[in-house]
């Protein structure tokens, strides 16, 4: 059975509605979060989103079953091949790292790292060729300098610098890369979840105050002529 269609909102209302939804998401008590029902494709998608969102939240809340999410930016010419080698040589390493292949470690802009951390990663690994062995002559030196700059800023922002790591691994060093990954995962596991978006939350007082303004204006501002 189809559920009745949602009323269309006027364009002017959408902003306010989005704000309300955002507000609700911040302060909603757990009991109000219900899984979606129904079985259409859209509902199925909603289920999936609900499941991942909530499992992420639960996971992040308790340190016991915490599995760090690591994003790895691996250079195409050395480190990505090292990861390939680790795979074909059946070297075991922690499965927590999500590898993104970039052409060079010098391609990794600090904004990639910020984006990863802001969107839920607990740690970031940047891996490239050893100094002096860059496919693009000296771009890994740039990566080295950017990494130093990035760490300086991250420390000032309150992020533990151990969460972001720059490592060198040549195409022959599958074992070394695996060890680096294991070490990073172990360190991040010790540090616990980052959950950056929780830093943006406001106290539940905010929603209450927003509602009160409306009442207050309605009550107090009418002055009889």
């Amino acid at each position: 059975m189809r559920s009745p269609p949602r009323p269309r909102l006027r364009a002017a209302d959408r902003g306010a509605r989005a704000a309300r939804i955002a507000s609700a998401a911040v302060g909603a008590p757990q009991a109000l979060v219900r899984p979606p029902n129904g079985n259409s494709m859209r509902r199925r998608h909603a289920w999936k989103t609900f499941f991942y969102k909530n499992s992420w939240a639960d996971e992040a809340m308790s340190n016991e079953n915490f599995e760090p999410k690591i994003v790895g930016f691996l250079c195409n010419w050395c480190s990505y091949r090292a990861a390939d080698l680790a795979g074909s040589a059946r070297i075991k390493y922690a499965p927590n790292v999500r590898i993104i292949r970039v052409m060079c470690s010098g391609r990794v802009d600090p904004s990639f790292v910020f984006k990863a951390l802001a969107q839920g990663a607990d740690g970031v690994m940047i891996a490239g060729c050893h100094p002096g062995e860059c496919h693009y002559i000296e771009q890994n030196y740039k990566a080295m300098r950017r990494y130093a700059m990035l760490k300086h800023t991250l420390t000032a922002m309150g992020v533990e610098p151990e969460r972001v790591r720059l490592v060198w691994a040549s195409a022959a060093e599958g074992q070394l890369l695996a060890e680096h990954i294991d070490a990073l995962v172990a360190d991040v596991r010790k540090l616990g979840p980052l959950c950056w978006s929780r830093n943006w939350e406001e106290s539940p007082e905010r929603l209450k105050a927003l509602e009160e303004i409306v009442h207050e204006h309605a009550e107090a501002m009418e002055v009889q002529a």
Binding site: A16, P110, S111, F114, M149, G158, W196, S203, A209
Partner: protein, 336 residues
């Protein structure tokens, strides 16, 4: 032709944007000719109640300056969004947080401690350690104060914004260009930043060579040469990442760009772009030396890279020490 309706509002900002509107000189008369000013608390009498009574979408243009720091400001942003056809985030504060946004390195508690506690920074008489409360009961009823947020948000993180006008404050020329576009109904696509799409370096007349620096200087440490690129001389000039439109005012008077026009198109994070650019000109391949150059030359990375754009950056704020802090109600009786 019936007149349009114009509103100008001021949230968490210094008020410079309000004055910048007047920098369009005699053209302000043209604005007065074409628009009725329905709401501009800084310059004209008007009450929130009057705005609340307007039909939705009845204000043609609202220029909103300032970030969102308190519940009252958030309410006004939502109200003006509902009442306005076109909402322009006006100036750096509304678009990217600006200087008030730098307080995102602190929490509400830390800010209140600095302001209301007797300490080295302020010398206020507050022996009972009182703090402003959202509610105060008095015999006549309840008094309300807005709730102060931990994190300052930009206008577009709060409500949907149609256009933004960069600058701290926006240049008169750009303000007029935006108003003309609105008057003539030649608006760019929704969401656009009204301004140039290039960097300050493009407008800067200084000579540029290959950049290689061994040391970052702060402005008071050297007297820079007037002809050569300031970044080449080791000054942290933000021109490489900053949107053009100011005609490189600061570099022209021998002072480095501080980035008030915000990020250029396609830049996700102003500070990251700047970090990336500055790091690549450091003339060293030795990790220890690189660290020394950075730590000595840039003692305050957040203030340097995110002076105007911390609230807009990808991380938005520094890490809170204990997650979300819940306000504890104190009995109002203690206040007497």
């Amino acid at each position: 032709m019936s007149k349009g309706k114009l509103a100008i509002y001021w949230a968490a900002s210094c008020g410079g944007c309000e004055i910048a509107v007047l920098a369009i000189d005699e053209k302000i008369l043209k604005v007065a000719e074409l628009f009725d000013i329905v709401f501009w608390p800084c310059a004209a009498d008007g009450k929130v109640r009057d705005v609340e009574k307007l039909p939705d979408g009845s204000i043609d243009v609202c220029l909103f300056n300032g970030g969102i720091r308190t519940s009252e400001q958030e309410y006004m942003a939502q109200l003006l969004r509902r009442k306005s056809k076109v909402l322009v985030s006006f100036g750096s504060c509304a678009s990217e947080g600006c200087i008030p946004g730098l307080s995102n390195v602190n929490t509400k508690r830390e800010i209140f401690d600095a302001v209301y506690k007797q300490g080295e920074m302020t010398h206020c008489e507050n022996p009972q350690d009182l703090r402003p409360q959202p509610h105060t009961k008095v015999p006549e009823g309840t008094l309300y104060l807005p709730v102060f947020y931990d994190t300052l948000r930009t206008l577009d993180q709060t409500v949907e914004v149609d256009y933004s006008l960069p600058g701290c404050p926006p240049e008169a020329e750009n303000i007029w260009a935006a108003l003309t576009a609105i008057i003539e109904n030649k608006l760019p696509p929704k969401g656009a930043v009204i301004g140039r799409n290039t960097t300050v370096c493009d407008e800067c007349p200084r000579k540029r060579n290959e950049k290689k620096i061994k040391k970052f200087y702060r402005t008071w440490q050297i007297q820079p040469d007037e002809e050569t690129c300031l970044l080449e001389q080791g000054l942290v000039c933000c021109g490489v990442a900053t949107r053009a439109g100011c005609k490189a005012l600061c570099p022209q008077v021998n002072s480095p760009c501080i980035g008030c026009h915000g990020a250029n198109d396609g830049v996700a994070d102003f500070g990251a772009r700047l970090m990336s650019a500055l790091a690549s000109v450091i003339d060293s391949n030795d990790p220890e030396e690189i660290d020394r150059i950075i730590h000595e030359g840039i003692p305050d990375p957040v203030g340097t890279f995110y002076r105007f754009s911390l609230a807009r950056s990808l991380l938005r704020r520094s890490k809170k020490p204990n997650g979300v802090e819940v306000e504890v109600h104190r009995p109002a009786a203690a206040a007497r």
